[in-house]
Symmetry: C2
Subunit: 352 residues, 2 copies
């Protein structure tokens, strides 16, 4: 897993400055496009151009099962992970509708469903038959983690080969908010209560039970939770590991990443803990309704684009933010300058 620590170049600050300078000349009060200006200028630096553009978007959905689901932490039974994978390849899920809207390239990867499925259109890179129940033992072996990280890397390789301008990773895995909450607690030092929510929709009694399962698991493994990769191995999921691998490699390849919801942001947190420079390649799409998400976003000093009370995962929030990112780039690239449009600039002080 040496590749994880390969160097990441920061976005090009010379183009950041050029893009900022251009923003000042566009026919609008400075700063009046708010976050859209910030996104455009960041993408200018990432793409090394004054006029960034986002045409082709790559969406990889990583699906895997979680041993922890036997602790009754989710509102849905484990089989739903597999059923939703079939829904993805049959184009019936929310992420399919949204990906079609933005004309994204779309793929689904089985990183470790409970059992292999023979369905055309699913990429099979299985690290195992679901993870182990991390309330009882490590979620995965080092070898399994290595495999799942490489699966994420391979997805980004495909995205780069297809000349994608943005990488979006989505996830599906019944019980994966339990895994993500446990990881985030250890990495941020926040409380289990802060970071444990209702997931796909459990009641308050069940949230309390879920929190107790997480506390028990962290306590069981505490001596082994030394570094980010240990935390991933003991408490993680295969799809979370794949997202981590994807984010690390995408940043290494200079491909901007749009981060989705609670699970994806936890993967981003892991990736940033592995290499802080990854942060400069991340665009946070939204703040979800899942309780812990806003705390992790704050911890990462992230200001997401959308606040729509979404809590679906699958990459759905990230894809929903793509039109805003595209519009931000088009504004930066296509608006007239004050000079071109012959518009009087702001009054000088004292001239009012």
């Amino acid at each position: 897993m040496d590749w994880l620590v390969n160097k990441i170049e920061p976005p090009d600050s010379a183009f950041l400055i050029k893009a900022l300078d251009k923003q000042q000349q566009l026919t609008k009060p400075l700063g009046s496009l708010g976050l859209l200006e910030e996104i455009a200028v960041r993408l200018a630096a990432m793409q090394k151009t004054e006029n960034p553009s986002i045409n082709q978007i790559w969406v990889s959905i990583f699906a895997a099962d979680h041993g922890i689901s036997e602790e009754s932490v989710s509102a849905f039974p484990q089989i739903v992970t597999t059923e939703m994978v079939k829904n993805f390849v049959n184009s019936g899920a929310a992420i399919n509708v949204l990906s079609r809207y933005i004309k994204a390239d779309f793929e689904v990867i089985d990183v470790g469903l409970i059992a292999a499925i023979d369905v055309e259109g699913v990429i099979s890179e299985r690290a195992g038959n679901g993870t182990e129940n991390f309330a009882k033992q490590a979620a995965m072996t080092t070898g399994q983690m290595q495999s799942a990280l490489a699966t994420g890397k391979a997805a980004v390789e495909r995205a780069v080969n297809h000349r994608a301008h943005l990488f979006i990773g989505g996830e599906m895995g019944i019980a994966n908010t339990t895994s993500a909450s446990a990881i985030a607690v250890v990495l941020t030092g926040m409380t289990v209560e802060q970071l444990t929510g209702t997931g796909t929709g459990i009641d308050s009694r069940a949230v309390e039970h879920k929190a107790n399962v997480i506390k028990r698991a962290i306590s069981l493994h505490q001596n082994f939770l030394i570094n980010p990769l240990n935390v991933l191995q003991y408490l993680g999921g295969f799809e979370i590991a794949a997202l981590v691998g994807a984010y690390v490699f995408s940043a290494q390849r200079g491909l901007p990443i749009v981060v989705d919801g609670f699970i994806s942001t936890t993967a981003a947190l892991l990736a940033v803990k592995i290499n802080p420079e990854i942060q400069s390649w991340l665009i946070y799409a939204h703040c979800s309704e899942e309780k812990g998400h806003k705390f992790i976003l704050d911890y990462l000093d992230a200001r997401p684009l959308l606040y729509l009370n979404m809590r679906l995962g699958e990459g759905s929030g990230a894809v929903t933010a793509v039109p805003l990112i595209q519009m931000a780039c088009k504004l930066q690239s296509e608006m007239a300058t004050f000079q071109q449009a012959k518009i009087t600039t702001k009054k000088e002080k004292g001239n009012k």
Copy 2:
């Protein structure tokens, strides 16, 4: 102006219920698409269908000048209104770039620039050579208000004739936040300080001056500010009156409206005060950076879609929200149901 009080039919609650029922069957945890579900269900009721769709969008930009600008309340000189109108017809402004992105029909209407301009592509329906300085006298005559309201109505007539699915009104008018703040103060009973902000970018000393101008004007006219139309006549602008006329008529014709920023929301406030049923036809696009906007939105019990710190006007925030509205409709219309996708529904209680 009798047409202003013509009956407005509410959206069809039978289709609202059908659409809500369909939402419960789609392959996602109930409520997990957050505001996108709410928007889809509302549009289902507005369009009288279980499967709403938004293809064609109509954008009308109303431009006019304000006598109040001679009180030095804006960061930009008055001539910029005219210069920006030229920028609109030359496709150089933010609203042009954004309207192209969503493939909207786009038009610019001179409702009363300081002087007529001979520029191809501008619809000329001038209520006057700018309003009067409302710190000294009524902003407009009854006849001028009537004319500007009719200009808004006529724009919606064109939108309906072109089979638009959404109406968006934008505005341009140097000093129009001063007018909007004054109107909102009178209609909501909030303080001038709460509702007076930096507009296109004045400093704190200038904001204080602007607030004093507003206080003086409200005090001058207080005996005449009896009903919403009086408030519009004494404190308004021609483009604000046009927006009011457009919103009223759009609701009367059952054409959903996307409301932009501070000025547009103030026009929506006026329209709702004229006929409360208009509210059910309004989709609030965003909460802008202009200080008073969030207070007016709260007063209207509105939860906008976007929080992007935008503060440009021109309809820019409204157009930016359109892809979200389109995606909401596509999710409602195109997602598979649990039954279609053969997916196990949520566990029964006690079955965990």
